[in-house]
C-alpha cells in the first residue's frame, strides 16, 4: 500500500461513519409523526407539477447539444492560458484562428435559428 494515501483512507472512513452516526442519533432523539405533506419533494415549497422522470420537450436537447460543444471547446484555451508568455504571438494567432472558427459556427447556428425558442 503506498503510504501518503493513509490520510485519504482515514478521511474516507470518517466520511462513511459520520452520516450513519448522525442519522442514527437523530432517529433516537426525534419524535416520529409521519404525514403526507412531509413526503412532498419540496416540503415547504410549491406543489410539484409532475414527476421528474417525465419527458422533456426536445428544445432542451438542442440547447444541451449546443452547450456541450461550445463548453468543451474552451478546453483548448486552458493550455494556451497557462503557457501564454512562452507561446507569444504564435499562441495569440492560433487561438485567434480557433476562436474565429467557433464564431463562424456560432453565427451559423444563430442564422439557422437554433437559439430560438419556437
Amino acid at each position: 500500500m503506498p503510504e501518503g494515501y493513509l490520510p485519504l483512507f482515514l478521511f474516507l472512513i470518517v466520511a462513511m461513519i459520520f452520516p450513519v452516526v448522525a442519522l442514527g442519533f437523530a432517529k433516537l432523539l426525534r419524535p416520529s409523526l409521519p404525514s403526507g405533506a412531509k413526503l412532498e419533494a419540496y416540503e415547504c415549497g410549491i406543489k410539484a407539477a409532475s414527476n421528474a422522470r417525465g419527458r422533456y420537450t426536445v428544445r432542451f436537447y438542442i440547447v444541451a447539444i449546443l452547450f456541450v460543444i461550445f463548453d468543451v471547446e474552451t478546453i483548448f484555451l486552458f493550455p494556451w492560458a497557462v503557457r501564454n508568455q512562452a507561446l507569444g504571438w504564435f499562441g495569440v494567432a492560433e487561438i485567434a484562428v480557433f476562436l474565429l472558427i467557433l464564431i463562424v459556427g456560432y453565427v451559423w447556428a444563430y442564422r439557422k435559428g437554433a437559439f430560438e425558442w419556437v
Partner: protein, 489 residues
C-alpha cells in the same frame, strides 16, 4: 521550446488541399445561413465542386514539394498524394451524382455539400498523418461528417436506422483504435510515427506485450472501419439504409482513407512484429472474401448486394497487406483506386434507377435497362466487369497485382482461395448483367427520367477511369511502386 513556432510557408503549402476543403465547407455553410433559401439551384453544390477541384489541383501541385509539415505532424509523400487524389476524386464523383437525388428527395441543401467537403478534408488529414493524434482527428472529422450524411433524410426511417448503426459501430471502433493508440504511446513514449518506428527498431525496443496489445486493438478498430470480417456486420445495414449517393461515398472515400492509414501503421510501425499479425490478417482476408461473396449470392437488393461485395473487396486488399512487401502495398494502392471508381460508379447507377424514396433498389428493377438506357447499361457493365475482374478493366489489374504479390510472398493457399472466391463473385455480378440485358423492362425502367447532366458526368468519368486503369495500368502502378518503396523505410 523553439523560438519560432510559426510554420514555414512551405509547410502551409503542403497542407493546402485540406485548407481549401475546410474553407470551402465553411464558406458553403455561411453562404447558406446568410442567404436562406434564395440561392440559385445547385449553386452551393457548384461551390463545393469548385473547392474539390481546387483541392485536387493543390494535391497534385503539393506533390512537387514532398516532406513533413507542422513539426512532422503531417507527411506529404507519394503514398499520401496517391490517396489524397483518390479521396478527392471520390468526393467529386459523389457531388456529381448527388444533385438529382437530393432535389428529388427535397434535401438539396448546402449542409450536404459542406459535409462532403469536411469528410474529404478529414480523409486528407488521415492519409497525410504522421502522428497518432492526427490519425485520430482525421478519422473523426471524416467519420462524424459521414454519420450526419447517412442520416441526412431526417424523415426516412431507414436512413435514420442506417445512421444510428453507422454511428454506434463507428464510435465503438474508434474507441478500440484509440485504446490501441494509447498502448502504442505507452510502449514507445511518443506519438510521432517516425519516432515510434525508430523506437520499435531499437534493440532495447518497447515491451512486446504492449506493442502486441496495441497492434491487436488497432486491428479491431481498423477492421471495423474497413468493414472486414469478422467486423463486417454493420456494413450491409448501413449501406442499404443510407441515401444511395452517401452509400457510394462511404463505401469508397472513408474506406480508402482507412485502408491508407491501416497500411501506413502496419507496414511501418508494426512491420517488426509482422510474423505475429500476418496469420491474423490471413484469416481476416479469407473470412472477408468468403462471407462477403457467399452472402452477396442470396441478396435481392442491389445496395445490400454491393455492400457484401464491398466486404469481399476489403478481403482482397487484405490479401495484399498479408503479402507484407512493397509490391503488395503498391497492389493495394492500385486496387483501392480502381475499387473506389467502380464502386462509386455502380452506386451512381443505383442512384439513377432508384426513384423517389428509393422504391426501385431490387436487382429485378434493373430489368430492361439495356434496351431503355443503353449508355447507362454500358457504364454499369463496365463497373460490374471491373468488380468481377474481367481483363481491360481496372479491377482485373488490381486483382492480378494483388495475387501476384501474394504468390511472391508464398501465400499460395490464400491465392487459390481468393481466386475461387472471385469465381463465386462472378456469379452474382453476372446475374445483374443478365437481368439488365435479357429481361423485359419493368416498372422501374419504363418510367426513367432522362439521365441528368451531373449523373452523366459521374458515370462516364468513373467508367473512363476504370477503363483507363485497365488499359494503361503501368503508369499508375509505377507511381504506386515508387511511393511504396520510399514509404516508411
Amino acid at each position: 521550446m523553439p523560438a519560432n513556432l510559426f510554420p514555414a510557408p512551405v509547410e502551409i503549402f503542403r497542407f493546402l488541399p485540406e485548407i481549401i476543403l475546410a474553407l470551402g465547407g465553411t464558406l458553403i455553410m455561411v453562404l447558406e445561413a446568410l442567404t436562406g433559401d434564395r440561392q440559385p439551384k445547385n449553386a452551393l453544390g457548384h461551390v463545393s465542386l469548385a473547392a474539390l477541384f481546387a483541392a485536387l489541383v493543390a494535391a497534385v501541385a503539393v506533390h512537387g514539394s514532398p516532406g513533413p509539415a507542422f513539426s512532422s505532424m503531417l507527411l506529404v509523400d507519394g503514398f499520401a498524394t496517391f490517396f489524397r487524389v483518390v479521396v478527392i476524386a471520390v468526393g467529386i464523383l459523389t457531388v456529381f451524382s448527388s444533385y438529382r437525388y437530393l432535389s428529388r428527395e427535397g434535401a438539396n441543401t448546402g449542409e450536404y455539400y459542406a459535409l462532403v467537403l469536411f469528410s474529404v478534408a478529414g480523409q486528407g488529414v488521415m492519409v497525410t498523418a504522421n502522428e497518432l493524434i492526427m490519425i485520430f482527428i482525421g478519422l473523426e472529422i471524416s467519420s462524424i461528417a459521414t454519420y450526419v450524411m447517412a442520416g441526412l433524410l431526417r424523415d426516412d426511417a431507414r436512413a435514420n436506422e442506417s445512421a444510428l448503426k453507422y454511428f454506434l459501430l463507428g464510435s465503438f471502433a474508434t474507441a478500440f483504435l484509440l485504446y490501441g493508440i494509447a498502448f502504442l504511446y505507452g510502449a514507445t513514449g511518443t506519438t510521432n510515427l517516425t519516432a515510434i518506428r525508430e523506437t520499435v527498431l531499437r534493440a532495447d525496443g518497447p515491451s512486446p506485450l504492449l506493442l502486441g496489445l496495441a497492434a491487436a486493438l488497432m486491428l479491431v478498430g481498423f477492421g471495423f472501419k474497413i468493414s472486414s470480417a469478422p467486423f463486417q456486420m454493420w456494413a450491409p445495414d448501413v449501406y442499404q439504409g443510407a441515401p444511395t449517393p452517401v452509400t457510394a461515398f462511404m463505401s469508397a472515400g472513408p474506406k480508402a482513407a482507412a485502408f491508407a492509414i491501416f497500411l501506413r501503421v502496419f507496414v511501418t510501425i508494426f512491420e517488426p512484429i509482422g510474423d505475429r499479425w500476418e496469420p491474423i490478417i490471413w484469416v481476416f482476408a479469407l473470412a472477408s472474401m468468403t462471407i462477403g461473396n457467399f452472402a452477396a449470392l442470396t441478396q435481392s437488393n442491389v445496395k445490400r448486394m454491393l455492400a457484401y461485395s464491398s466486404i469481399a473487396h476489403a478481403g482482397y486488399v487484405l490479401v495484399a497487406l498479408c503479402a507484407r512487401s512493397d509490391i503488395g502495398t503498391a497492389a493495394a494502392m492500385f486496387y483501392l483506386a480502381a475499387y473506389a471508381l467502380m464502386n462509386v460508379g455502380a452506386f451512381a447507377v443505383v442512384a439513377y434507377i432508384c426513384g423517389k424514396g428509393e422504391k426501385y433498389v431490387g436487382i429485378d428493377d434493373l430489368a430492361g435497362l439495356g434496351s431503355r438506357r443503353p449508355a447507362v447499361a454500358a457504364a454499369l457493365t463496365i463497373f460490374l466487369c471491373s468488380l468481377i475482374g474481367v481483363p481491360l478493366t481496372g479491377g482485373f489489374f488490381g486483382k492480378f497485382y494483388i495475387f501476384k504479390a501474394a504468390l511472391e510472398s508464398k501465400l499460395i493457399w490464400l491465392t487459390v482461395l481468393g481466386l475461387l472466391n472471385s469465381a463465386v463473385a462472378a456469379y452474382y455480378y453476372l446475374r445483374m448483367l443478365v437481368v439488365m440485358y435479357m429481361r423485359e423492362p419493368g416498372e422501374a425502367t419504363e418510367n426513367l427520367e432522362p439521365l441528368p447532366a451531373g449523373l452523366r458526368t459521374a458515370l462516364f468519368t468513373s467508367a473512363a477511369g476504370v477503363l483507363l486503369l485497365g488499359i494503361f495500368p503501368s503508369r499508375i502502378l509505377e507511381f504506386a511502386v515508387q511511393s511504396a518503396k520510399l514509404f516508411g523505410r
